[in-house]
Amino acid sequence: MVDLSVNIGALKLKNPVMTASGTFGYGEEFADFFDLSRLGGYIVKGTTLEPREGNPYPRMAETPSGMLNAVGLQNKGVDYFINTIYPRICDIDSQMVVNVSGAKIEDYVEVCRRLSSLDRLEAIEVNISCPNVKQGGMAFGTTCEGAAQVTKAVREAWNRTLIVKLSPNVTDITEIAKAVEAEGADAVSLINTMLGMAIDVEKRKPCLSTITGGLSGPAVRPVAVRMVWQTVKAVRIPVIGLGGIMNGRDAMEFILAGATAVQVGTANFVDPTVCDKVVSYLEDYCIRHGFSSISELRGLI
C-alpha cells in the first residue's frame, strides 16, 4: 500500500493531485465524470470582493500544444460564493482551496476576512499573477515589493494555510518566491499562465478581445518544470507545481523536480477524467519503481 499523502503547511492532502484554479469550476461541474473524493484538493475559481463580468468574447484561442485565455476573473463575488456555492460543495471529501484575486490590496484582505467564516476552508491560494486584469493581478506578482505587500497584508487577515500563486512572466521567479516566503506564505504554487498573443492573419485581427492573454497547456511545461526546480532550491516552504500537466507522467516530472503537490489545469478541458487517471498513475509508479511513499520521489533528480 503506497502512501500518497503530502502536507502543504498545515494542510493535509490525501494525494498530491489538485486542480488548478479556473480550470475546474467549483468542482461540481466534474462530479459526473469521476469521484471527486479521489482528488488531493480542488482549487475553486478566482474569487474577488465584488462580482466581475470578465472580458468580452472571444476569450480563448488554441495555439500549438496550448491555449490562450482572457477570461478576466469572471465570478459572482465572495459573498455569493459564501452564501450559495460553498454550501453546495463543502461536503466534497477533498481539500477545498479558494483562489483569491483582487485589484487592490484591501480587496484581497477583505475577501480573506470574509472567507474566514467558512469553517471547512483550510487554505486559500492568493493569485498575484493573473495576466488578464488591468489593475492588480500580475502587477503584484512581477515585483518582489508587490508580491511581499500582498502576502504581508493577507497573512495578517488569514491564519490558516496560505498559498501564493506566482507569475512566470518574471526574470527570476526565485526572488519573488523568497519575498513571499519572507512575509509568511506557507507555500507557493507556480506557474500561472505566460502572457501570450495570437493573430488571425486572414482577418488581420488579434484572436482575443483583449489582444494578449494567458498561455497554458503542455507548451509551457518545460518552462514550468524549470521554474519549479529553481524555486525548490531557493525556498524552504513547499512548492506546488503546475503548467501543462496532461497526464501522470507529466505530474511525476514536477514531483521529481521537487514539487510537493501538483495542479492539473488545461488538461481538465481535454479530458474531464484526467485527475482520476493522474492519481492512479502516481500510485502505480510508486509500486512499479518500489517506492512506499510519494514523498520519497520528491526532488529525486
Binding site: 465524470f33 480563448m60 503542455p218 481538465n268 478541458f269 481535454v270 474531464p272
Partner: protein
C-alpha cells in the same frame, strides 16, 4: 439533468455529403446504451491523432437513432480538427463527452405554427428537433438557407418530417435571396427556432420580433471545456456574460442583447 459522460465511440459510418460536409454515425464502443439526448444538445469530440489540435471540438447533435443506439454528427470542415473528424473511417474510435447544453423548448400549443430555420451546418440540430416535435404531435415546417441548391444538406430527411421551404442566394433552389426574405415568414408563424451563422440568426431575430413570433436561436461560440468550467464561450445576455455550453447553446432571443 442527464448525467454527462466521457465515452469512447466507434464510427459505424462516415458519409461524405460534399467536400465541405461529412456525416458521422457513431455508437458507444462498449455497446452501452446512449444517455438520453435532448434536441439542441451537443457533444465535445476529442480529435484523434491530429497534431496542433489539443482541445475538443463541439458538434451539435444531428440525429439520434435509439433503435440502432447511434448518434449522428454533421461535421463541416472548418480547420485541422474538423477536417480530421470529417475524414474518419468506419471502425475508428473517438472519445466523446455528452450530452451537453440545454435544449430547444417545446412550443406552447400543439397547433402553433412552427418554423425551424437553418443555414449551413446550422441545419444539424434542427433535423433531430423536427423529428422529436413530430413524434410529440407538433407540425414543424422547415426553412433552409444556403448559398446554392447543392449546399442544402439532408433535404430528403427534412422532407420526411415536414414541409420544407428554402432560400438560396443564387436562386438555384427554392426562393432567391436570404431566408429572412422567404415568403413563409409572412404566413403567420408563432414559433421560430433558428441555427446558423450569427449574422443570419441576428437577422432572423429581427424578423421574429417584427412578426411577433417566439424565437430561440442556437449559438456556436468557441469553447474549451464545454461543461461550464473554463468560461471561455460566454455570450453577453440580459443577465450578463453566461456560458453558451451550459446556459445554452439555445437561447430565447429576449435573453440576448441582440
Amino acid at each position: 439533468m442527464t448525467k454527462k459522460e466521457a465515452t469512447d465511440f466507434i464510427v459505424s459510418e462516415c458519409r461524405h455529403l460534399s467536400e465541405m460536409y461529412s456525416l458521422l454515425i457513431l455508437t458507444p464502443a462498449d455497446g452501452s446504451a446512449l444517455p438520453e439526448i435532448l434536441p439542441g444538445q451537443f457533444v465535445q469530440v476529442k480529435v484523434p491523432h491530429c497534431a496542433d489540435v489539443m482541445l475538443r471540438r463541439p458538434i451539435s447533435i444531428n440525429n439520434v437513432e435509439p433503435e440502432k443506439n447511434t448518434v449522428w454528427l454533421l461535421v463541416r470542415r472548418a480547420g485541422k480538427g474538423t477536417d480530421t473528424l470529417a475524414s474518419l473511417e468506419a471502425g475508428e474510435k473517438v472519445n466523446i463527452v455528452l450530452p451537453l447544453g440545454n435544449s430547444f423548448s417545446m412550443p406552447g400549443s400543439k397547433d402553433a405554427k412552427i418554423l425551424l430555420i437553418g443555414g449551413g451546418v446550422g441545419v444539424a440540430p434542427l433535423l433531430y428537433f423536427g423529428k422529436v416535435l413530430k413524434q410529440n404531435g407538433y407540425t414543424p415546417e422547415f426553412l433552409l438557407g444556403a448559398r446554392s441548391g447543392k449546399d442544402l444538406l439532408q433535404l430528403e430527411l427534412f422532407e420526411q418530417i415536414g414541409k420544407v421551404h428554402s432560400s438560396t442566394e443564387d436562386g438555384s433552389y427554392g426562393e432567391k435571396g436570404l431566408v429572412t426574405k422567404n415568403s413563409v415568414l409572412a404566413s403567420g408563424i408563432d414559433c421560430i427556432y433558428c441555427c446558423g451563422p450569427a449574422p443570419m440568426m441576428k437577422a432572423v431575430a429581427v424578423e421574429a420580433r417584427r412578426i411577433g413570433a417566439e424565437c430561440e436561436v442556437s449559438l456556436e461560440n468557441m469553447m474549451a471545456c464545454g461543461i461550464g468550467a473554463c468560461l471561455c464561450c460566454v455570450e453577453k445576455t440580459v443577465k450578463g456574460n453566461v456560458c453558451v455550453c451550459t446556459e445554452g447553446p439555445v437561447f430565447n432571443i429576449n435573453k440576448l442583447t441582440w
